[in-house]
Amino acid sequence: MKIQVKLYSTLRLNLGVAGLEIEIDKPVTILKLLKLASQQLNSDIIPELIEDGKIMVGTILLINGKNILHAEKLETMINEECEVSVFPPSGGG
């Protein structure tokens, strides 16, 4: 399956990449997906998002627009083609 990963805010600006496509052949957790994304990007994005195994305050991880904090958090399974949006801690308006 093809997973579209979209990067935003400082991740997009610092890496100079707006997104990437990850091909997986079996369901993975979102944490695993972020690791795959880091490999593909050649840059570890996990420390920007997760601290001591926990999603940092202000980090937003969405699967098709739904926040994983209301699903199984970092253990949320990705088992079909979808779009994953990745925001490091962000501001408000």
Partner: protein, 599 residues
């Protein structure tokens, strides 16, 4: 302490200026800024007053922490009756004006009556003078500021003024300070214009005294550390400013598009905060007085024009809401609003309303007098009609009255996305239930900064709530409304609340004022302010029927994206909200509640 204990009362008709004492008891009960200003205002002005008549008053109030070293402690509030919403108006602004205003040695200014000829107030720590402003009348906010600064010749002086839109009594005009900062909402610029008061220039060196200076310093240091270490206030806001939200709100499907007919914008990547950086428009961050966050953006456009912003809300209003995907034009529209003294949120929403009216054939082509077509997506139109609106020319006469009156004049108020006749900002309530309840019950109408439920419902601070859940939301809304009243009254920026909580504000206030609020007392003070505003609105003639949202948001499900199928569930939320507020089912504070709050 941390107050000068002085109020300046200026009668614009008789030119009499006098100093009065500020009661410390009143200061303790209402903190300062929004709370204290509203108390003074509602004691002196009949809630039924015509907002643009001489009987309305215009108050500028600094907070208990304004002009201290507390992080973001530079803000002031404008309190009056709104000509737009007929509610209490209190508009907050940052920059450096509030700090300098307090340096004059006054905590509060009260303008009464109406001047016969255009005038401005010069105020420093030794003198207060009303001076002729006929040479400034008709000038935009930048020109006015430059002329006054040159005339006064004091480099550290600061100016607040109205632009042409305030002079012409546009109901969506604001008061501009430091050129690009705005006490923008509720039409406070029109009240200033109706009084023929063009500007206020402040200068002075009076320091704000602190009750326990050493302890205050320690507390400030700790709060600055909290702000720096927080992901939102330490990284997100400094990096992208408020415009980081374009992609966030769009991704969850709550980014109002095409005048709230859609909730996702396909061209968001063209107009987002990231785009502002990628396109090379962003020059640097700018900060208000004593602010370690620095969310402001200094922007230079390819054609060489420099200015501030756009912030998330105005950028969205001229962008997605009008389906305009040209960031350069959107930024120009925002600059123009600052110069004309227009509320850039209301201006953008009003143009989107006009676009829908045109799209549906209610506004006819002939009425545009050869101006560009008011079609969604027409970038040229937003610049053209902002100008018309600011100068009240042609169809600009109607646009200057705001979205509701515009739509109503064509017999279609349902096209107007407003609460209590004020334009709703950039978050679709159908996708974020608590935030929608905040809009419906807001004491000044469609506004996001009295109860920023986006924090918990989207950003996850202080904890993440499901935006579609309704259980527990009225309780959260009440806490956010009461806490925001405290922050606004303290003279701090709402953005500190991404990282700071009630105990932090209590600590800063206690060390500065010596009042010794417990956290509960402080939250009750916020509740007192909220109820005082509510009482004013009820006495002005508003009722529970005004605590609502546009029909579209209550009845038409979001057609696309992650929030597809949802409407706002106000009828399920509102009764419980009234109940926990201690109000009757008609939304009236009970006698018991009022006496509990000392009202």
């Amino acid at each position: 302490m941390s107050y000068h204990g002085k109020i300046l009362r200026i009668n614009l008709a008789t030119k009499e200026i006098k100093t009065e004492e500020l009661s410390q008891d009143l200061a303790k009960m209402y903190i300062g800024g929004r709370g204290l200003g509203t108390k003074i205002f509602s004691d002196e002005v009949d809630p039924k007053v015509d907002a643009l008549s001489a009987d309305n008053k215009l108050i500028f109030a600094t907070g208990a922490l304004t002009s201290t070293i507390a992080p973001t402690g530079g803000r002031y509030m404008v309190i009056t009756k709104s000509p737009l919403s007929s509610t209490i108006a209190s508009s907050n602004s940052g920059g450096f004006f509030g700090h300098k205003l307090k340096n004059t040695g006054y905590d509060v200014l009260i303008f009464e009556n109406k001047a016969e000829k255009a005038c401005y107030l010069y105020l420093d720590d030794e003198k207060a003078e009303l001076r002729d402003a006929s040479h400034l009348w008709g000038k935009d906010s930048h020109e006015t500021t430059d002329i006054l600064m040159e005339e006064i010749g004091e480099k550290t002086a600061k100016v607040a003024c109205i632009g042409p839109s305030g002079e012409k009594l546009s109901l969506i005009s604001g008061i501009m300070n430091d050129k690009n900062r705005a006490a923008g909402r509720s039409g406070v610029g029109a009240v200033m214009g109706s009084k023929m008061l063009k500007a206020i220039i402040v200068s002075g060196k009076k320091k704000t005294l602190i009750d326990d200076k050493e302890a205050f310093k320690v507390a400030v240091k700790e709060k600055v550390k909290i702000l720096k270490e927080n992901g939102v206030t330490g990284q997100g806001l400094p990096a992208l400013g408020t415009k980081v939200l374009d992609n966030i709100i769009n991704s969850i499907g709550a980014y109002p598009t095409r005048n709230f007919q859609k909730a996702q914008y396909e061209s968001v990547d063209e107009v987002s905060g990231e785009a502002l950086v990628e396109k090379g428009y962003l020059v640097k961050n700018v900060a208000c007085y004593a602010c370690p966050i620095a969310c402001g953006r200094l922007v230079t456009l390819p054609q060489g024009k420099t200015g501030e912003g756009p912030e998330y809300e105005p950028g969205w209003a001229f962008g997605a809401l009008c389906e305009v995907n040209d960031l350069n034009t959107i930024s120009q529209a925002n600059f123009m609003c600052n110069e004309l003294g227009l509320d850039s949120i209301s201006a953008g929403v009003t143009i989107a309303t006009a676009m829908e009216l045109y799209d549906r054939g209610y506004i006819k082509k002939e009425e545009l007098e050869k101006g560009p077509e008011l079609k969604f997506g027409n970038a040229e139109a937003i610049l053209y009609y902002v100008k018309k609106m600011g100068h009240k020319e042609g169809i600009g006469e109607k646009l200057a009255l705001g979205s509701y009156r515009l739509a109503e004049s064509y017999g279609h108020p349902e096209v107007s996305m407003t609460v209590k006749k004020m334009e709703i900002p950039a978050y679709d309530p159908r996708g974020i239930q608590g935030h929608g309840l905040g809009y419906a019950t807001n004491n000044r109408g469609g506004c996001h900064v009295r109860c920023y439920m986006i924090s918990p419902e989207v950003l996850g601070t202080p904890e993440k709530l499901d935006p579609q859940e309704i259980k527990g939301k009225p309780e959260w809304v009440k806490i956010f409304q009461d806490l925001t009243a405290v922050i606004d009254s303290s003279g701090l920026c709402l953005f500190t609340s991404f990282a700071m909580g009630a105990p932090d504000y209590a600590e800063l206030l206690n060390k500065a004022t010596g009042f010794n609020y417990s956290v509960n007392e402080l939250m009750q003070t916020g509740e007192r302010i909220w109820n005082l505003e509510r009482q004013f609105n009820l006495n002005a003639g508003l009722t529970a029927a005004d605590d609502t949202l546009p029909k579209r948001l209550l009845e038409d499900p979001i057609p696309d994206g992650p929030s597809k199928g949802h409407v706002h569930r106000l009828s399920e939320l509102l009764p419980h909200y009234y109940e926990i507020r201690g109000w009757t089912k008609d939304g009236i504070p009970t006698d018991e509640k009022l006496s509990e709050l000392g009202l």
